[in-house]
């Protein structure tokens, strides 16, 4: 995740784009929380090859959607702070109704940080870019998987379940999700039995929890690449 340099977005002059705004998002980056690229990313006009990560050959998102996302980012950023806080995201009306809204918002703020800058914003959304067939062909096997790979999409979903970040969906966590998803008409006991059964179904090593591999396996029949993609993020 850290490796992905936002600036790799092809021909678009991203640094230029960012500097054109009054508040460059870079400096306002959450300190410490995601420390790695901090020094290199410091100046807004930093060269596209910021901090010399090995970049995936394919950009995070296409140029057009990057622009689009940037506008959206600015629109969400109420006070032009250059970053988004939880409040900014919570004000999206539809998100409040979404049973998973809170968890989604939380996923924008890894490790409990309080703000997300534009690169972080894009990085999260990049999970939902449709998979390009052409990407796979010329991808260097040594490169890390692109964010929109099947596994990364699954991982994103998985961490929405796994609240305590222990790498497993416990029965309790499953129950919590179920409670969000299932209508109120189902009683608590029924929910519990559903949760039990769901965990049992996926749990292969019998530890009473669903690990990521088990999670991925339970969904192997599903076309995640298609399902977890949004067209406009192409």
């Amino acid at each position: 995740m850290e490796e992905v340099a936002l600036v790799s977005c092809g021909p678009l002059d991203l640094p230029g784009l960012i500097t054109s705004t009054p508040h460059a998002p870079r400096p306002s980056r959450p300190r410490g929380s995601r420390g790695a690229p901090a020094p290199a990313a410091q100046p807004p006009a930093a060269s596209p090859v910021a901090s010399g990560h090995h970049r995936p050959p394919s950009p995070l998102v296409s140029q057009a959607s990057l622009l689009r996302l940037y506008h959206r980012f600015q629109a969400l950023d109420r006070n032009e702070k250059g970053y988004l806080s939880r409040m900014d995201l919570q004000q999206i009306g539809a998100l409040a109704v979404n049973p998973l809204g809170d968890r989604i918002i939380e996923s924008f703020f890894p490790d409990g940080s309080m703000r997300v800058d534009f690169p972080g914003f894009v990085r999260v959304l990049a999970h939902f870019r449709p998979v390009d067939d052409e990407d796979d062909g010329n991808r260097d096997p040594k490169e890390p998987e692109p964010l929109n790979s099947r596994m990364n999409k699954l991982r994103f979903a998985f961490q929405l379940y796994d609240l305590d970040r222990d790498g497993k969906i416990s029965r309790l966590e499953m129950l919590q999700v179920l409670r969000l998803m299932v209508g109120v008409q189902v009683t608590e006991e029924q929910l519990e039995s559903i949760a039990d059964r769901t965990v049992q179904e996926a749990d292969e090593d019998g530890d009473g929890a669903v690990s990521f591999l088990e999670f991925a396996k339970s969904l192997e029949k599903m076309n995640i690449e298609q399902k977890m993609s949004i067209r406009i993020l192409k």
């Binding site: 998973l100 989604i104 939902f128 979903a157 929405l160 179920l178 059964r197 599903m222 977890m228 949004i230």
Partner: protein, 797 residues
Amino acid sequence: MLRAALPLLGLPLAGAGTTEEPTLELGSPGEPPPGLALFRWQWHEVEAPYLVALWILVASLAKIAPRVQAGLLDFLLFGSLISAVDPVAVLAVFEEVHVNETLFIIVFGESLLNDAVTVVLYKVCNSFVEMGSANVQATDYLKGVASLFVVSLGGAAVGLVFAFLLALTTRFTKRVRIIEPLLVFLLAYAAYLTAEMASLSAILAVTMCGLGCKKYVEANISHKSRTAVKYTMKTLASCAETVIFMLLGISAVDSSKWAWDSGLVLGTLFFILFFRALGVVLQTWVLNQFRLVPLDKIDQVVMSYGGLRGAVAFALVILLDRTKVPAKDYFVATTIVVVFFTVIVQGLTIKPLVKWLKVKRSEHHKPTLNQELHEHTFDHILAAVEDVVGHHGYHYWRDRWEQFDKKYLSQLLMRRSAYRIRDQIWDVYYRLNIRDAISFVDQGGHVLSSAGLTLPSMPSRNSVAETSVTNLLRESGSGACLDLQVIDTVRSGRDREDAVMHHLLCGGLYKPRRRYKASCSRHFISEDAQERQDKEVFQQNMKRRLETFKSTKHNICFAKSKPRPRKAGHKKKDGVANTEATNGKSPRALGFQDTAAVILTVESEEEEESDSSETEKEDDEGIIFVARATSEVLQEGKVSGSLEVCPSPRIIPPSPTCAEKELPWKSGQGDLAVYVSSETTKIVPVDMQTGWNQSISSLESLASPPCTQAPTMSRLPPYPLAAEEPRAPLDLPPDPRPSFAFPPSLAKSGRSRSESSADIPRQQELQPLMGHEDHTHLSPGTANSHWCIQFSRSGRL
């Protein structure tokens, strides 16, 4: 790829319409390379002669069909009807091959809307023809186009209105399930008629009616109605389909109805294939601009090839008015040929084609809870991401719609009870459990004794803590039954029998009970919260059982009355001493006898009472109570306290119910056959001490519901009598007295159980009961078993 293909497609369109062949070749040469060209493409040099030649060719070809006398409008009319694609056959093939869902849905959707559009087009053209081409103004063409929208959208609106009505109506048919299928058919038909009346698209109206109401109606109507609707529909559909193809066959050989014209036929065949392909390619190209997963070439080929013409085209062409359309006969012949050709040739070859092209199949796998759950979460995640991105796409709108549906539509159109089941995750869970249960039963397992299995088929019970009790009872009961039968066959030396049976029962019953307990301990804990529900379920169980038993009871009373009392007397004498406590129950019995005009007068009055109380309480069998009449008076005083609630003359029936309620083992057995149940009831309690204790305690915790319930039960007429009566006489001969020797302990225990409802005596009674169980244990069991055996034996005799 697509972008590259676009200019190729664009060019032919821009060029002359007739020049299909050159454009096809255009693709191969590509752009002329800068150097020496091996192959050069210079269309402009030959353009004029080429076109002239083509036109002449077309004109001469046209001469093949000189006989068809028809104007442009007539041909438009024909075109409109022959364009009606009827992919029924294709859909059947797709279903068989399990083609991928996208393709299936697209073809299916086409078939849904195509008929309607075709009919509208046909109507417009037909009216033009009837007006005569001379009278058709320019505005009429505009009107025709406009009417296309009015007719189709209006029809859809009518359909939705009726869908709403239908859903709303079925919400209130809980008590009249029988009319549900009728409602579905009639309201759908009403939609059809209404649309027809307003000269809107009736087919669209019906289609939209079905689309709109399905979710709600399906949830509202009963399962049987659903099946009825489904299969009636299918039957009707295939009937109609068959009839129309029969008509097709008949008119195919009726040469008076058609006139052959090879040019028209061949031309039509060629052009429908060609334009179908063209239409598919163009439209999918447009569609692909907006699709996340584009439709690929194979899909397009299959869709093009799937353009079968069927019943609709033929029906429409038959409807043509010969006076207005002089070329009708030619059209009929052409249509028949086209239909035959497409259905037979294409219909038969599409399956191999699908297989050969390796069209993506949809994997059919059993639904898993994980998948269902995760799919839901994914939907929500995507909707949320779309919100964040600020793009109101598919997921956004679907989320919106679902919320609207949940908030308003479902509330309005769905029954409360149905509403719950509609949750999809719950639905999957439910179905999984049903499947498990079925497979379990298929393997010969006993559902109720399988500890791990929670039956979702009775969600209310499941949720209820009390369920565990009933289930427990049921299990024990069932186990007991089996054992009993074994014992029945033995039938010798009673004591030995009893002992054997006791051991058998112990062995057989112990396990299931244990297991169950373990799995369900949770239920016990949470009991309080659901007390009310529990009570309800419990009462229902009791009621059911009471009814079944009543029938047996009455029969027995009338027929056996004499033998029974005697036996009772024998036994009772032993147990009489204890009777006091039992008396409490007897008053009811008394009342019952009076009213019920039971013949069996009291022979052994005092003793009887004790017995009756026991028996009644334990097992509602009618047999025992007969004798009570005399003794009851005494007890009334005591009983009144608890029983006042149900003072109706026929009090006897209630008394068993009360007892039943108190006595847990009874509640579970409603399902069992009458005889069996009576047997089991008696035996089970005795043998399964632990289970009993449990159940008693649990039951006590439930507020004793019997009193309120009792009166209603008592009033129920003993309708099942008739069925039982033939057996009753049989009962008489075999009244082996010995069997009825009730050990005192039994009497005591029985009493105690019965009393549990009564406030005061309960505690006192219970303690002896508990104490007894350790050592007395066996004796009551034996007594009961005897009794049971007698009973069953007599029945068989």
